[in-house]
């Protein structure tokens, strides 16, 4: 991957000037490259990575993985039914998978009841949905490469030759 992207993935707030210093490119080259990535849609957006446990504490947020089995539709396959599902704002992630079920959703709500209500009233009542299986998330250890727990301080000496 391009150095600029690798740096932004780790810290999207690095400025073109800082990135230029780290990569040995000029500030303008970096700014142009970033503008280009944004225009092409390689970089979709920039956002903060929150610790989901802190959000759960303050907002009472609840997350669940939901396995969904569906009957594909003639002509449109899985796509149109997937679209009907992922358009719900409760659905944060939506994937089509191979194996024992079809769609995997990550659903977020303010309470257990809210998520359960979404499944029973909105999701499972859809015409092509044949079965759902809901797994509430209990603890996040690692997400998108970030580990959500206090790591131990290393024993490395502050000075060595």
């Amino acid at each position: 991957m391009d150095d600029i992207l690798e740096i932004l993935i780790q810290d999207a707030r690095k400025s073109p000037a800082e990135i230029a210093e780290m990569t040995g490119k000029s500030e303008k080259e970096v700014a142009d490259a970033i503008a280009d990535y944004e225009k092409k849609g390689t970089i979709l957006k920039y956002r903060a990575v929150l610790n989901p446990e802190h959000i759960a504490e303050t907002d009472g947020a609840v997350r669940a993985w939901i396995e969904v089995s569906i009957t594909p539709q003639r002509g449109a396959g899985f796509d149109s039914i997937a679209e009907r599902i992922y358009k719900f704002s409760e659905v944060k992630n939506c994937y089509l998978l191979s194996g024992g079920f079809d769609l995997l959703l990550l659903v977020e709500g303010h309470s257990l009841q809210e998520v359960a209500g979404f499944v029973s009233q909105k999701l499972s009542t859809l015409e092509n949905v044949t079965a759902t299986s809901t797994h509430f998330m209990l603890k996040v250890y690692k997400e998108n490469g970030d580990v959500f727990q206090n790591t131990e301080k290393s024993e490395r000496l502050a000075i060595s030759l």
Binding site: M22, S154, A158
Partner: protein, 388 residues
């Protein structure tokens, strides 16, 4: 009881340094919350797949001695790895020895080849163990001063000037600790010419070879006629972030490796088996992580060096390893004064250049084996410190 006699230390050992630098170390280690650019090891934890291999080895009951030379499968993997990565060809049956780090390998070479009074040319600044290991083996270190040479680089002429009938070997370390200097093929060829012309051995410490940013690393034994004149040392501490595993290797002419094995057999027996198992995993599957860490160091390198030059601390862009070697001359302080005051006033730890040779008075070594945010903060503090 005469304690003076009872606890008397051999003159040789008694006269080895730690010196003044020890006091500075104690000062650093006695302080909390220091931002440290003073380390000589990666800040990364060993990649998990390697640790996992070590755990698995323990679970399987790999807790025994191995053959003196090292596990057969490790010796074979080393041969495969250096052929693939560096195009060096060594026979795992008699030209490779697994050691407890390059540290042990360096000690073994010196003891294997030196008779009392033999000379070894050692460039300064250099890694701290070279001179003591020469002395402990009964040899005489002959210092090659590179303080004023461009990029702290050893040249063919500077070596040739120091060669005498007693010279047995020349030590070369690239990329270098503490300067980060490395060499182009052309530069290495001219050094090799002197080695060949004078029939001396080259001891090549290439432990930072995977951390080369600007110059493709060329291994000494791959130059024409150099394989029979080189003892090639490498290991896992730096590239693979495995300092605590204490494992490395030496490759060289059969006769020398066999003499080194003899000493190793009596003094070390073998390298720890768990570390040997971890090393096999590192060699088989470790390069993607090594390259990822190298990319990360490279960014930190540019950031740190730009920051230092910005502060008026003159520093060339190091070609490899994870050190910047900067002059503090512009501040009017010595490296030791600078490091001590910086520590006391700003809680940033760096190493005074004199740790790496007596000519290092006006330098400091800063390691960029630290997180980007630590480096950024350290640079801010150094800036503030220099302005005062």
């Amino acid at each position: 009881m005469n304690k003076n006699k009872l606890h008397k230390i051999s003159t040789l050992v008694d006269e080895l340094p730690p010196s003044g630098i020890r006091a500075f170390f104690d000062l650093v280690l006695g302080m909390d919350d220091v931002i440290s650019l003073g380390v000589g090891e990666p800040d990364f934890v060993t990649p998990w797949h390697i640790c996992e291999a070590a755990v698995f080895a323990l679970e399987k009951g790999y807790t025994s001695y191995t053959s003196n030379r090292g596990l057969k499968s490790l010796l074979e993997q080393i041969a495969i790895f250096i052929k693939k990565e560096r195009n060096i060809i060594y026979n795992p049956e008699n030209e490779i020895l697994v050691t407890v780090g390059v540290s042990e390998a360096m000690d073994l070479v010196m003891r294997a080849i030196l008779d009392s009074g033999d000379e070894v040319i050692v460039p300064e600044p250099c890694y701290v163990s070279y001179i003591p290991t020469v002395k402990l083996a009964g040899g005489n270190p002959v210092i090659l001063e590179t303080w004023e040479l461009p990029g702290f680089k050893v040249t063919a002429e500077s070596i040739e000037k120091l060669i005498t009938p007693k010279t047995r070997a020349v030590v070369l370390n690239y990329p270098s600790n503490p300067t980060g200097a490395s060499y182009t093929k052309k530069e290495l060829e001219s050094i090799a010419e002197v080695i060949k012309r004078n029939d001396v051995l080259l001891i090549s410490d290439e432990i930072y070879d995977h951390l080369s940013y600007d110059i493709p690393h060329i291994a000494m034994p791959t130059l024409p006629e150099m394989k029979e004149r080189t003892v090639y040392l490498n290991g896992f501490s730096k590239g693979h972030a495995m300092t605590g595993f204490r494992i490395g290797y030496a490759c060289g002419p059969e006769k020398i490796i066999s003499a080194m094995t003899k000493i190793h057999q009596y003094t070390m027996l073998c390298a720890p088996i768990v570390s040997q198992m971890a090393a096999i995993e590192a060699l088989k599957n470790g390069m993607p992580e090594v390259k990822k860490m190298a990319r990360e160091y490279n960014r930190r390198r540019r950031l740190l060096v730009a920051g230092l030059n910005d502060c008026g601390l003159k520093c060339h862009l190091p070609e490899g390893a994870f050190y910047a070697f900067a002059s503090v001359e512009s501040t009017g302080m010595t490296g030791m004064e600078f490091a001590t005051k910086l520590l006391q006033q700003e809680k940033v730890a760096v190493v005074p250049g004199e740790a790496f040779g007596s000519g290092g008075g006006k330098f400091i070594r800063l390691a960029y084996a630290a997180s980007l945010s630590d480096i950024e903060e350290a640079v801010r503090r150094i800036k503030r410190f220099v302005k005062k």
